[in-house]
Amino acid sequence: MIMAIVKKELLQLRRDPRLMGLIIVMPLVLMILFAVALKLEPNNVKMAYLDEDQSFFSNLIKTGIWSDGYFEMYEVLTKEAIIEEIRSGRAKSGMYIAKDFSALLTENKQPHVQLYVDGTMPSLTTAMKYNSSAATDTDVTNDMYFLDEDAPNTVIADDPFIMDTEILFNPDEKETWFFLPGVIGVLIMQIALILTGITIVREREQHTLEQLFVTPISKTSFIIGKLLPYVIITLIDFYVILGVGWLFFDLPQPSSHLLLFALASIYVAVMISLGLLISLISQTQQQAMFVAIFIIVPSILLSGFIFPIEAIPSLVRVISYLLPFTYFVEIIRGLLVKKTLLVDLLYAYGALLGFVVVFVTGSILRFKQRL
């Protein structure tokens, strides 16, 4: 009975050229569309720092960076921890001031300050580089020149110290590395929500549901039969889009293919079950479409996919964390670009699984084999 429904769904899809277009053409169109990047000025970007010098001068640099509200700084214990903080996503940038900083400074030897910037989001990277230059403003550096009474002819360097900026994970600041992983999620969301969103409501509208409810099929078999084709199609779509990214857009390989497959499966499950729920609460196909769009649009805008989450006001950020897509973006960027460890992504995987549980439960409660 399940196979009868699966077969019927696939036949219907094959007979519907518009839907086939949706599955095949739309991903290509959007791929090109999203290649045009958007930029936005963020604030309160988390910066992990380690100041081994702890001197008057190093404090000057920190205040210089801190003062204009762009960075929000917190201290870590080791140099390695700075990069680890960025890899895990807790910080977007880092700064390291070595122990010999003020010693070298007083000798006019131009010590280095190391700045790390997360390159996963190029728009954020550019802004961070720009804002960190505040630390080398004359306001900050005025007091950092030293005159040597014994050697008055010594040439004093133009800058008292040098800021080294290292861009982590995406050193070439490729916009595609930033956008493409998210684009995959957007496309999967659209395909899954729209395909499954209309699947039951269409049968309701065309009066075929009435005929189906008379047959002896059970609730579970019916739902499995209805969803199975879409789960498979969407999962295939996921890897097709990913493959295009790998082939033509220089998308990096994931740190773990297993974790990527887990993400694909869980994410597809989230979107398909959400689509089912939409289909069950809607009375017409139009309603289902509107609900789907009401989920897709905020997902694109508020998930950190285009605009850094740091740029979203904290009140609205609550919505960001209620959108499954936010967690998808976090995980896929972590896996593909930053090679983040599973430990740091567990909460995001957990959140996605939580969505599956909520949507499936909601659907079961909502679904009645009656008109």
């Binding site: 077969k7 036949l11 219907q12 009435e210 005929q211 409810f213 009656r370």
Partner: protein, 298 residues
């Protein structure tokens, strides 16, 4: 075969079906009659288990609907097959839903209902009559004992309608039980048993013959008269007239026996200024139907 006791269903606080009880015997064609919005579709949906009754019980073949799902087929009022699938794909789908694997049986069904030439045609492009046949064939795929048909001939031309009814008789002769809703009187008279509902209430039940007698002690006169508002109004003004009913050039006058034939004739000839002679006839179902739904007879 079908037993429904005291079915009640409300929508938005309004009782659309109010205490309907039905008993249908094996091999019968049972007709459920009623004007639009009387609750016919709601009743048939409750009998098939696709709508939950607020109260009341339904038994099919002496078991609950859930257990009897393989015992009955249902043809909804609207075309409920998949328009983009072919006739054969639709039939195979419904057969598979019931676990029927016998392809010969399905081919025979198509043949029997003249659908073989349309085997690979999209169901959506069939004409109205063939769509009904496809729906019927899909409902028969698992060879059910009971068949529910919701207005199976609505919007169908008279020739096709007759053919469909021939099919229904044949099915009944095979021992299948048919439950049909309709508002066509001549179809109603073809049923073995009838039930009248109006505003969700059962108002008469029995054979077509016994229902015709439901009007009680009345006389029906027929008179050749094209429609004239003055005549109709004058007759309705008489004491004892139950109702008047215009069928084309025939005027049916249903009256109590106390009113004499000559009194009516006088009233008419006063207006038409011709001599009038009424013919006494049998009440037909339509007279009863209109009288019952107007609530003139309890």
């Amino acid at each position: 075969m079908i037993q429904a006791v005291n079915l009640v269903k409300s929508f938005g606080g309004v009782r659309r079906v109010d205490g309907v009880s039905i008993e249908v015997k094996k091999g019968e064609i049972f007709g459920l009659l009623g004007p639009n919005a009387a609750g016919k579709t709601t009743v048939i949906r409750m009998l098939c288990g696709i709508m939950q009754a607020d109260s009341g019980t339904v038994m099919i073949n002496n078991t609950s609907i859930e257990k009897a799902k393989r015992e009955f087929g249902y043809v909804a009022q609207y075309f409920g097959q998949y328009a983009e699938l072919s006739v054969w794909e639709n039939l195979s789908f419904y057969a598979e839903m019931y676990g029927v694997k016998d392809k010969n049986h399905l081919e025979n069904l198509l043949e029997k209902y003249q659908l073989t030439p349309f085997r690979d045609v999209d169901a959506g492009s069939l004409s109205g009559g063939y769509k009904r046949r496809l729906a019927l064939v899909c409902a028969l795929a698992h060879d059910p004992k009971v068949l529910f048909l919701d207005e199976p001939t609505a919007g169908i031309d008279p020739v096709t309608r007759k053919l469909l009814w021939d099919d229904f008789y044949a099915l009944s002769a095979e021992g299948k039980t048919l439950f049909v809703t309709t508002h066509y009187m001549e179809e109603a008279s073809r049923c073995h048993q009838l039930a009248f509902i109006a505003e969700g209430k059962m108002i008469a039940q029995g054979t077509p013959k016994s229902i015709k007698n439901a009007l009680g002690d009345v006389v029906v006169y027929t008179y050749k008269q094209s429609y004239s508002p003055e005549v109709t109004q004058a007759i309705q003004g008489l004491d004892g007239v139950v109702l008047t009913n215009q069928f084309g050039d025939d005027l049916h006058i249903v009256t109590e026996k106390s009113l004499s034939q000559s009194a009516i004739e006088t009233v008419i000839s006063d207006i038409t200024e011709t001599s009038v002679s009424l013919r006494e006839t049998e009440p037909d179902l339509e007279d009863v139907f209109i009288a019952l739904t107007q609530g003139d007879v309890s």
